[in-house]
């Protein structure tokens, strides 16, 4: 029963802490760490068994690298080679060098210093990617560069896993090497008796076997199993594959992570990539979560309270050094203004891989226990401050830096009756319709790439941030009749509409809205008409679906029309029930009442009750009417 009660404690801690941490914008990794801290040092419900659990949980890392491999389609990697080798490579090598140098200054052996440098060069993929995606910064130059660097780091983990044991051999601590199991992969006893060349040959053969088998053997096997339509057996096969490769690599004395990574890459362009991903993902997530829990549980608070100055000093020093290097790299690689800040601030922490590699390094005897304890704290603290850095970027840096980006807004030398703000998927359609109908349209956008692309097809777009009053003024809003707000960003869109409505009361404003609530917000901000951006597209697909299902095309049109009218009426009616920042009971009630009438209307329309007033087509008079 001990297993069950342990599992209960770990799971309960995770289930409580992770969602809360996520909600607070800290990310799941920190959630697990904090949960670990609570059940370990604070409550003391888990104790010495955490080390065993940790060794088990390290298998999550093996799985993670399998997934990383699956993501890395060789063709995609090849396309990104410049970014990966240039920007990413320089970041890893440069940061490693700086921290290794610092380590030497602190009196570490060169092996330990190098190991530490490599480990600290890595940033937190989990926190950063999640934040970039959440905030919608992934598409920016800064986001893309961050992604390249993180990807390089993920790949760099593989050689690091290979190099760390070598550093240990030189360090000379043979006893430690056996304490580590799964992820470390420091087996190789089976081959120890063979001469060096034979070992090398066998290792090469194993790698070749993985690649060849992955290409030619695994695919038919997966196809065979997939065709059996036994979902759990497919999952079992995927797990079997990962564990099997790990064991094999362990047997020849190579890193299991390296093996599964290779297998992942080999399978990355197979048809079963997504299925494998979704099958392994939960196991990886739970095991890694467990791993971070154990890291948290193992944090030595005595150390922190004993020398808070040192620990925090080291953490801030670490972040400052990483930031400086990243900022310099951003400058070299021509990242502009806000993008450079996002890139440098976002990646300034050390990452979850550090915990993995710390465990590995301690197993291999590369780093001393006391140093590891300290550095684990330092890394955790640097991660803990990452959300704060993102907030700093969003609230303080970005608004200021954006205001003075290196590229000045274009001088707008054309005039039109219409100004269109935002030339994305939405603005392009509106502008093209207007321009081909013979109107002069002044188009503004803030994405240089979009502007360049449109320029190539002969559409002139002016660069600038439409939230800046002077740009709108320069665009001739004073003399324009119409302003089309087609900005993708919800808040910016509302802001711009509000500004235009206040400053140019004579200009009609047509606005693109994200959803119903945004319609109300935009109307309140002063838009004369706001349209939900996906509504008509969805209506059109719905109508086509009815036709596909056998409805007469004209009938489908009528139904779609009825539905649209009802929906627009609801939009109108719910307006007064909508209050800033959300909905209350009256809104929900009104909405429920509306969907009930909708069902009524559509049911009537299905012909279950004929000759209803809701069916507005030509209707024959009822048979019983004697006047006819």
């Amino acid at each position: 029963m001990e297993l069950l009660s342990d599992a209960f404690v770990y799971l309960a801690a995770a289930v409580i802490a992770v969602p809360i941490a996520n909600r607070l914008g800290l990310g799941s990794v920190l959630g697990y760490l904090i949960a670990g801290v609570v059940i370990g040092p604070i409550l003391g419900v888990v104790g010495s068994e955490t080390t065993d659990v940790q060794h088990f949980a390290e298998f999550g890392v093996v799985m993670m690298l399998f997934l990383v491999g699956l993501e890395l389609r060789p063709a995609v990697l090849w396309k990104m080679r410049k970014q990966l080798i240039g920007l990413g490579g320089l970041q890893v090598v440069g940061t490693t060098a700086v921290f290794a140098g610092a380590g030497l200054l602190f009196g570490l052996s060169w092996q330990s210093a190098l190991a530490l440098g490599m480990i600290l060069a890595l940033s937190s993929t989990a926190i950063v990617l999640q934040t970039l995606n959440e905030k919608g910064w992934m598409k920016t130059q800064g986001g893309q560069s961050s992604f390249s660097v993180l990807l390089t780091q993920d790949i760099a983990v593989i050689p690091m896993l290979g190099v760390l044991p070598l550093l240990a051999v030189a360090h000379g601590d043979p006893d430690a090497s056996d304490t580590h199991g799964e992820a470390a992969g420091h087996g190789g006893e089976a081959l120890a008796a063979l001469p060096g060349w034979a070992q090398a040959l066998i290792i090469l053969a194993v790698i070749a076997a993985i690649i060849v088998a992955g290409r030619h053997l695994l695919r038919p096997i997966f196809r065979f199993i997939a065709e059996a339509h036994l979902r759990e057996i497919f999952t079992a096969t995927a797990l079997l594959l990962v564990i099997g490769i790990a064991l094999m690599m362990d047997f020849v004395g190579l890193s299991p992570a390296l093996g599964t990574f290779l297998a992942g890459v080999v399978l990355s362009d197979s048809d079963y990539r997504h299925e494998l991903e979704s099958d392994i993902e939960p196991f990886k997530g739970l095991l890694l979560g467990l791993f971070f829990l154990t890291v948290g549980a193992g944090i030595d608070f005595g150390l922190l309270f004993g020398a808070p100055g040192t620990i925090f000093g080291l953490a801030f020093g670490l972040m400052a050094a990483k930031f400086a290097l990243l900022y310099a790299l951003g400058t070299i690689f021509k990242l502009q203004g806000a993008d450079r800040w996002l890139f440098a601030l976002g990646l300034a922490q050390a990452g979850e891989f550090a915990f993995v590699l710390f465990g590995f390094a301690s197993g291999a005897g590369v780093l001393e226990q006391s140093l590891l304890q300290t550095m684990t704290l330092v890394v955790a603290i640097s991660m803990l401050f990452t959300p704060a850095l993102f907030i700093l970027y969003q609230k303080v840096v970005a608004p200021r830096v954006i205001a003075k980006t290196d590229r000045e807004p274009d001088v707008i030398d054309s005039r039109g009756r219409v100004v269109v703000a935002g030339m994305g998927r939405f603005g392009q359609i509106v502008s093209r319709l207007l321009m081909t109908s013979g109107y002069d349209v002044v188009i503004l956008d803030h994405d240089p790439q979009t502007i360049e692309n449109l320029g190539r097809v002969g559409v002139r777009t002016f660069y600038g941030d439409v939230t800046r009053p002077d740009l709108l003024h320069g665009a001739g809003l004073m003399e324009a009749d119409l302003f089309v707000a087609a900005i993708d960003d919800r808040e910016k869109q509302t802001m711009v509409v509000e500004h235009v409505a206040r400053t140019y009361p004579n200009v009609k404003i047509l606005a693109r809205a994200r959803d119903r609530h945004h319609v109300y917000e935009l109307e309140k901000a002063g838009a004369h008409h706001a349209e939900r951006e996906v509504f008509e597209g969805a209506m059109s697909i719905g109508r086509k679906a009815l036709v596909e299902l056998g409805a007469h095309p004209f009938r489908a049109r009528t139904k779609a029309k009825d539905f649209r009218n009802h929906d627009l009426a609801m939009l109108d009616d719910l307006r007064e029930n909508y209050h800033d920042g959300g909905v209350d009971k009256s809104y929900i009630d009104a909405m429920r009442a509306h969907s009930e009438t909708l069902y009524e209307i559509m049911r009537v329309d299905r012909g279950e009750e004929s000759h209803e007033r809701t069916e507005r087509g030509w209707n024959p008079p009822p048979k019983g009417d004697a006047t006819l």
């Binding site: 029309k561 507005r616 087509g617 030509w618 209707n619 009822p622 009417d625 006047t627 006819l628």
Partner: protein
């Protein structure tokens, strides 16, 4: 040709003008609103070009939807009873084409029979049509302004209830003979 006539109508006090194509560009006619409009007016004028011996498509759609059973006709459909109905149309051909011996083998009122029967069935009083023949050359022949003035007179007389409905119901066409039907009295 119909647009200046429409403008003439817009300028007459007591006349509500409805540009169906402007109001329902997608043919999505609001039946309730249209029925309410009918209920609050006494005279309904269909002003339109005589496309293919009938009305433009949207006016047919309007009839199909708005003149519902139970509203315009049928056992309980009495909403339009006693109201006056008039076609004010323009044709391409000259008046002589609209006769038994002419190109169309029928006079204009005969060709408008579907409208007359519709009015009948709804209990409305159908007047002879007010027609601008040969609309294609109306401007060159200086007939447009004459016709606009006549239309103005006709509408004002209808608003003021000084139009001889009985007589107009029996006529073949109202064009050029308006004065015979307008009841003289004090100025409008």
């Amino acid at each position: 040709m119909n647009y200046p006539l429409f403008q003439t109508a817009q300028a007459v006090e007591g006349v509500t003008t409805v540009d169906l194509y402007a109001e329902y560009p997608d043919f999505d006619i609001n039946v309730d609103a249209e029925q309410a409009r009918l209920t609050t007016h006494d005279v309904i004028v269909f002003q339109h070009p005589f496309y293919w011996y009938s009305a433009p498509a949207i006016m047919k759609e309007w009839q199909d939807l708005v003149l519902e059973h139970g509203f315009a006709y049928g056992l309980h459909g009495h909403a339009l009873e006693g109201k006056v109905f008039l076609n004010a149309i323009s044709t391409g051909a000259k008046p002589n084409a609209y006769s038994r011996g002419g190109m169309n083998h029928s006079d204009i009122r005969g060709l408008l029979a579907p409208f007359e029967k519709t009015a009948d069935l709804c209990g409305m009083r159908y007047l002879a049509p007010f027609v601008m023949f040969g609309a294609g050359r109306a401007v060159e022949d200086n007939r447009l302004d004459v016709h606009r003035n006549a239309y103005d007179d006709l509408l004002k007389a209808l608003v003021a209830d000084r139009f001889d409905l009985k007589k107009a119901a029996k006529a073949a066409v109202l064009t050029d003979v308006l004065d015979d039907y307008i009841i003289k009295g004090e100025a409008v």
